[in-house]
Subunit: 219 residues, 2 copies
């Protein structure tokens, strides 16, 4: 997970930041192990057919520990999805806004996509494939995105001096998600072919094509 590999102080530490206290590193390791096992097991056996007990056993922790690490069975499966939006929200928070907002959102999202760790691609593809197979996972993703939109609106509202429920903020945060959705879907369908650059290119194209969408006409 998490936010961007802080340069390892000595050699590459396979998991976890060497500067963190042992306790935290251990928790992080468990978290990663559970998320990885979730992707593996759910993909192999199916989401519904895999119990939380099995998942926890496979990582040699108790069910208690699982639910202390993730709020639900679904959450473990969509860590890669969570990562994008965590990074994006942080980037949005950090950025000073001036000029047109919509292109700024495009930039921020591209920035976030670039900042993700190298192994994210693979996990994201597996996650999205999984999400297509289980309604519960789709539901969870939608719930999460809803929360992300709410937070993005709050951040933008603060920066722009607007009401967080301003229609324009709804539209902009919604369309950011739409651009990502469509771009990522195609990227995943092609097996993440071309790597991160391809995703960025698709993302840029999507943002560019959005305004004209409103003028679509029949006949």
């Amino acid at each position: 997970m998490t936010v961007m590999p802080t340069a390892p102080s000595v050699p590459t530490s396979p998991s976890g930041d060497r500067s963190l206290p042992l306790r935290e590193r251990k928790k992080l390791r468990t978290r990663r192990a559970l998320a990885d096992a979730a992707l593996t097991l759910f993909t192999a056996k199916g989401f519904d057919a895999t119990t939380v007990d099995e998942l926890a056993d496979s990582v040699e922790v108790s069910k208690s520990t699982f639910f202390r690490t993730f709020p639900s069975k679904e959450a473990a499966a969509i860590e890669a999805e969570t990562e994008v939006w965590t990074v994006w929200l942080a980037a949005l928070e950090a950025r000073g806004l001036s000029g047109p907002v919509f292109p700024a959102l495009c930039d921020t999202l591209a920035e976030a996509a670039t900042a993700l760790p190298p192994d994210w691609d693979e996990r994201y593809v597996a996650t999205r494939r999984l999400v297509m197979t289980a309604a519960a996972l789709l539901s969870q993703v939608e719930l999460q995105r809803n929360d992300v939109k709410r937070r993005a609106r709050a951040t933008l509202a603060a920066k722009l001096g607007l009401d967080p429920e301003d229609l324009r903020l709804h539209v902009l945060s919604e369309l950011t998600m739409t651009a990502w959705s469509v771009s990522a879907r195609e990227w995943v369908r092609s097996g993440a072919d071309g790597g991160r650059e391809t995703l960025l290119a698709r993302l840029h194209d999507a943002f560019t094509a959005i305004p004209a969408s409103l003028d679509l006409a029949a006949g």
Copy 2:
């Protein structure tokens, strides 16, 4: 709580279409009774604190019947939400498209809002208030809307000869939902003040304001 006086053989049948076979009318009556009881009980006791058994008991049916009627505890609580989108999808399907699509979507949604039964207002307000109190309900609503968007894209794609995954269809269906969301939220917050006309007015305003949202700038 009780099923509503079984229709006396002569006068106006309060619920259910007299032309339907008895079996179907009965199912409908049960469905309405469960949905009403769900709103009442969940509002009074809280969604989590109310069990499906209680809910079923209050309508004097078994838990089995509840789950034959609704796929989940959540679904019973958001019937009013379901109704809007069912009517909208039907209206969209029925409509012949020509000219600009976006205004047509606005029209269709207004049409749907008009076609809803008179008692819908009250139920919708109660539903939305409830949804704000329980994450599980919000999740369900989002899942449902996702499905509605998918179907709307499919319908539009067929009428326009496009790919259902065309970015423009994503944008248009998404923005339709956004317009509804924002309009309905304000309408509900004001207690559905002014009735259906007020909702329609807000909806029209929202659709009108959407295009300019893309030009929002800071500074």
